[in-house]
């Protein structure tokens, strides 16, 4: 339980709304991987999104709209799993793809910088 709380703390650093703009190459690669793998549970109205809506709120339910995710938190959740989400093994999602997904989901932070 403590591990889960720590992961949530990593995930839930506060952030502000991100400005839409063209994606960097690594963010674009991350979006591609996200659309190929994560989307099945994390598109609107689907299991993972519904679960997040219950656990947190609607605003935090769709990962792609989040501005508060951190790369370290994303890596930890992907590899260790969290709540109902099972871990994704290195053989099914490479470290490079996880990094790219993290770059895509934290694009708000890079915009702020």
């Amino acid at each position: 339980m403590r591990t889960l709380m720590a992961l949530w703390a990593l995930l839930c650093l506060s952030g502000s709304a991100w400005a839409a703009g063209p994606l960097t190459p690594i963010q674009a690669k991350g979006k591609q991987a996200y659309d190929h793998i994560c989307i099945y549970c994390h598109s609107p109205g689907v299991w993972g999104t519904n679960r997040l809506a219950r656990r947190m709120d609607q605003e935090h339910a769709v990962l792609e709209n989040r501005t508060d995710l951190t790369a370290a938190g994303i890596r930890a959740v992907v590899r260790m799993g969290i709540g109902s989400m099972p871990p994704l093994r290195r053989t099914e999602l490479s470290d490079a793809d996880v990094d790219a997904i993290a770059a895509y989901l934290t694009r708000a932070r890079s915009v702020q910088r």
């Binding site: 099945y40 549970c41 299991w47 679960r51 219950r54 590899r79 871990p87």
Partner: protein, 534 residues
Amino acid sequence: MPQSTVLPPGVSEADFKSALRAFAEVVGERWVLASDEDRHSYLDAFAPGDADKHASSAGIAPQSTQEVQAVVKIAARYGIPLWPVSSGRNLAYGGSAPVLRGSVVLDLRRMNRVLEIDEQLGYALVEPGVTFFALFDALQAAGGKLWISTPAPGWGSVIGNALEHGVGYTPYGVHADTICGMEVVLANGDLVRTGMGAVQGSKEWQAFKYGYGPVWDLMFTQSNFGVVTKMGVWLMPEPEAVANYAISVPDYKDLAILVDTLRPLRLNDTINADYTIQNPFRSVMDELSMQGKTRETIYSGSGSLPMELISRELKARNRGMWNVGFNLFDSDKGLDLREAAIRAAFDRVPGSKLQTHRWHRGEPMESWMRVTPALAPLAGVDWYGGPGGHINFAPVIAPVGERVTQLYEAIYKRFIEYGIDYYCGLLNIGQRALVVNAVTFFNRDNAEMTRKGRELYRVLAKDGAALGYGDYRAHISFMDDIAEMYAFNDHALRRLNERIKDALDPKGILAPGKQGIWPAGLRGGARAKGGSQA
């Protein structure tokens, strides 16, 4: 290289280190996955209790058949049990975790090539790491003339699902029936191709199952006799049209008439794909789960969900007590004929209601067709709030209304006794069988709930055997329990399996305990509890 904190049973720390180094020389250090993080990723994500009881000592991820052969030989040299997984996504049956603690997971996910697609002959040749998602994409890219049969969650392996006797919802839905030709690495490292694949240079490997002499393919399903590294899978040509049917009957007592009405329609292939009958609880629970809702939305009491409550919920939704769904695949005219026969049969069932709609070639595919892979059905696992999991007690029964009702009620009685909600689907598999798929949901972090779930499962296995039934698959924690159900002639089937195991894998390297088949040194009282701590 990271060192594991769990060892294979009977293997010293020094020997295990040497073995990992030898594995690394074959697959590369990067693909010897022994860190705590990697080992954690091989745990059963839906474990009904302590996942550590089935912890692996490492994962090894080869990328070719030759690498698999080399890994198997090293494992034999050191006496290290290997647990082969294809996609490792068989959640509710153990995921990628081994039966025997301390086994090394032979992770075949990197062997992910679609080697051949033949639109003329309707087949594909695939490696174990090819998921339903990946094969669907490859078939679309090849022209979209062939359709896959996808099981409930699409992230599974095409090979793994067929080997585990999984099912889908098209005329090709009995996946073990669609296997045509295998390449198998045996426990001594030898490489075999079955059927026509045994003919040097044959182009008929995926066209004819039987070859010459005994047919071995099914021996490598639900077993631990070899590692399947390639498999031919027959695929359905795109039909002109698909029709969906949702039929309901109004009263609780109508289960028998529903089963008896469906039976001849399925037997003569009027219904040409597997159907699913939802019990009253499942109809309500599925609807709520898909909306992201949990049990507390309708009930906060303890014990099993009351039937009166579910009756009210169904009435409020204008739904019948029993709801069956299936799809038919044909030309439009063919569908008209099939529908006429179905309507005529259900006209004789008082109060039955039928709803239907169709898809035609050229239109975008829709989720109800159950051809496009998805993960949506997983929504139900959080029924008790989550983080959830489930195990399935699933005895096989012929579709005879009176018998199905008797077995269904016997299981229901136990669910009430254990205070667990009775989520059940009667899943049709082929033209002559059903499984009564009684699902126990639990919150994984609730020790009492998982304990009750395990206890219920074991009681059901004993009840089922006493009534003359056997399950069609099992979670890694219950493989021995289900093997016990198959007890004719003092377990003659187990003795046969063990003789084959001894002949093909005398050192017991491959998947000890799978389907209750143990190598000689681990049988009966001698069975190890699993790997020791390093």
